[in-house]
């Protein structure tokens, strides 16, 4: 049971991270800097609890807010560029954060930051945050701002013509995504009890991207499914040891051939919705 709880906890943190990637992605911004924002959240919240004695919840929130502010600042130059150039910019940002962490003596530099108090209810906090994000994204989908995000993501020029404020939409999406990543980092730090710069390298940023692409980019349920599936599948494959990651890689390739839009698409949600309504209808009839 403890094992399943620990895997579920990590999956919960990864769901937050996948959604943090999905948030700017809605406006067409692909960010490889989410691991950097996660690191900011992790370190800031750890400083708050270890050095300043601030309780867990405000410390994690402060980590998220700080990451969000950095995201807002980084979002300004990011407005001018898109596509592969934005990828490079955010990649560079992630590396800057990591190198700063490597050299920052206050947080233990490359040796890492030990002694972070353990939060035994991490599972509840992680899934509590996931629930908040699910409510947030479901409301966002139907809101004016959400439609503006989708419009910017589909065609920036067309969105501008119809009067969408692209600057505020992109900046907001970028900084809210950074805030989510910061929260994820804070929860992660207090579950691990130790953080070091290597935990936030580029591979992790790519992992969050894979969760989203694999799960589906059309709707927020995609990243949630991707993070859950890709955290649990390698654990279930542990029995085959050496061949585990090969099978994992093969699964990704097969999925991308069969369903390039990801496992969960709008069609999946609609089909499930119909199924659910029919079932309810029959039941209530």
């Amino acid at each position: 049971m403890d094992y399943l709880i620990s895997v579920a906890t990590i999956a919960g943190i990864y769901i937050i991270m996948a959604l943090s990637f999905y948030m700017p992605f809605m406006t067409g911004q692909i960010s490889l800097g989410q691991a950097g924002f996660m690191a900011i959240g992790a370190y800031v919240s750890a400083i708050c609890t270890v050095k300043w004695g601030i309780p867990y919840v405000p410390a994690v929130l402060l980590g998220g807010i700080f990451a969000g502010i950095v995201g807002l600042i980084l979002g300004l130059p990011a407005l001018r560029i898109k596509g592969i150039y934005l990828l490079l910019l955010t990649l560079g940002f992630g590396e800057i954060v990591r190198v700063v962490a490597i050299n920052l003596k206050y947080t233990g530099a490359a040796e890492g930051f030990p002694g972070i108090p353990y939060q035994k209810y991490t599972l509840l906090y992680a899934y509590g945050m996931v629930l908040i994000l699910i409510i947030f994204f479901s409301r966002l989908r139907r809101s004016r701002m959400g439609r503006a995000f989708q419009a910017v993501g589909s065609d920036e020029d067309a969105a501008e013509i119809i009067g969408v404020n692209i600057v505020s939409a992109k900046l907001l999406a970028f900084s809210v995504g950074a805030f989510m990543a910061g929260i994820g980092g804070g929860i992660f730090a207090h579950y691990q009890e130790y953080v070091e710069p290597l935990m936030f390298d580029i591979m992790h940023a790519i992992e969050f991207l894979i969760f989203t692409i694999f799960g589906g980019i059309q709707i927020f349920w995609g990243p949630i499914f991707g993070a859950l599936a890709l955290t649990f599948i390698p654990e279930f494959l542990r029995a085959i040891q050496e061949w585990r990651m090969e099978l994992y890689g093969a699964l990704l390739i097969v999925m991308m051939i069969i369903r390039p839009q990801g496992v969960i698409g709008l069609d999946t949600v609609r089909a499930l919705d119909r199924l659910f309504r029919n079932a309810l209808g029959k039941e209530w009839a």
């Binding site: 403890d2 620990s6 890492g112 009890e193 654990e235 585990r244």
Partner: protein
């Protein structure tokens, strides 16, 4: 008369012998069950895969030998192992799985200090002994009484090496290069070597940092050549240690190198060749060139299993020793292996590791210090004639 006393005397003698057998320690006591479950965390993928693979092969050899000789208390060992991929993240679910699902008695591993940093603070809750076979960052075993390391921390290893290196080459000035991305390398390069240089009167001219991805050391060496130091202190693993020495020799720098445990492995000579001749280093196991017949036998078996017949870093023999120490502790501490005694057995194993003294392994003599780190048996190696020689 003699006949009258013969039968009672023999009866008394028989009772005495029987009493002695019954009162002797539970060394030969048979364990309950069909398998003795031991866990292992070997990172056979990721950046430290070579160390994890060596540990797996070393552990497997020991388990096969033990099982062939009758197992532990007559019961064969069954190892449940997992790949942590040199990352701290997967190590937490793995440790939880070993405790709650696999119900192992003790765990051999993990290797990396960063994984120990994450798991050791949780051991007070998990109540399971983990014994690392290569983590050398100082201070980690103190995080929990359940965390042990059958290795020597970098500070213990490097002191005699620096002293002998200074004496041999009359080192007066030196520079330090270290990998700032790796925790152990940073500790060695930033904290341990500068203190030891000061202790032995060596003037530190300059410190340089590089990253794990650094391949070109020519800019560093161009500057170091102008400084003309007597020695080069290296805080990194062997791949980069060898490469930076190749560049140093290519530029005509004659400074003699010294490095820590991760650098002092057979791979240093394989890559570095003549460039690392005269290198001084510390280690937690003397491997190549060690005449101990047990080590010779181990290496013969190891190289028959390792990819390309490669020699192991010290995680191989240390992991091998770990399995034999676990066997010794289980037999001496009276582990029953009954499912109902699982937690009591784990506690007995913890106490056994705590008081482990002078275990004569193939890696050297192992004694646990007060926090659960190996002590004693510090070895200094020097590269001479293309192989490591004990100094």
């Amino acid at each position: 008369m003699k006949r009258r006393y013969f039968v009672p005397i023999m009866l008394v003698a028989c009772f005495l012998v029987l009493g002695l057998i019954l009162a002797s320690p539970s060394q030969a006591a048979k364990l309950y069950g069909k398998k003795v479950k031991i866990g292992a965390i070997y990172s056979i993928s990721g950046v430290c895969a070579e160390w994890g693979m060596a540990a797996k092969i070393g552990g497997d050899i020991a388990v096969e030998e033990i099982n062939a000789a009758g197992g532990i208390g007559g019961v064969p060992i069954e190892v449940t192992w997992y790949d942590a991929a040199c990352k701290a993240g997967p190590a937490i679910p793995i440790a939880n799985k070993l405790v709650s699902q696999d119900k192992v008695l003790v765990v051999n591993g993990p290797c990396q200090s960063s994984i120990c940093e994450v798991i050791f603070p949780k051991l007070d809750r998990l109540k399971l002994v983990l014994v690392s076979f290569c983590s050398s960052k100082p201070g980690l075993s103190a995080l929990s009484p359940w965390g042990f390391r059958n290795t020597l921390t970098s500070d213990k290893q490097l002191d005699p090496a620096v002293r002998k290196w200074k004496e041999k080459y009359n080192i007066k000035t030196a520079v330090i290069l270290y990998n700032s991305e790796d925790a152990v390398s940073t500790v060695e390069g930033k904290k341990i070597l500068p203190v030891l240089f000061e202790k032995y009167g060596i003037k530190l001219l300059k410190m340089y940092t590089f990253q794990t991805q650094t391949l070109d050391f020519s800019p560093y060496m161009t500057e170091i050549k102008a400084l003309n130091p007597d020695g080069i202190g290296i805080g990194s693993c062997y791949e980069q240690g060898a490469k930076l020495m190749i560049e140093a020799r290519r530029q005509g720098i004659k400074a003699m190198p010294i490095g820590g445990a991760c650098n002092s492995t057979p791979g240093l000579i394989e890559i570095g060749g003549d460039a690392v001749e005269g290198y001084y280093g510390s280690t937690a196991a003397w491997i190549v060139g060690n005449p101990d017949p047990r080590m010779v036998k181990f290496l013969k078996e190891f190289t028959s299993r390792s990819p390309g017949g490669r020699m192991p870093p010290y995680s191989g023999p240390r992991s091998y020793d770990n399995m034999y120490i676990i066997k010794k502790i289980m037999e001496e501490e009276g582990v029953t292996n009954k499912p109902g005694d699982l937690q009591k057995d784990r506690e007995k194993i913890r106490k056994g590791w705590e008081k482990l003294t002078n275990y004569p392994g193939i890696s050297g003599v192992t004694t646990m210090d007060e926090v659960g780190d190996g002590k004693g048996g510090v070895m200094t190696l020097v590269v001479a004639g293309g192989e490591f020689v004990l100094k």
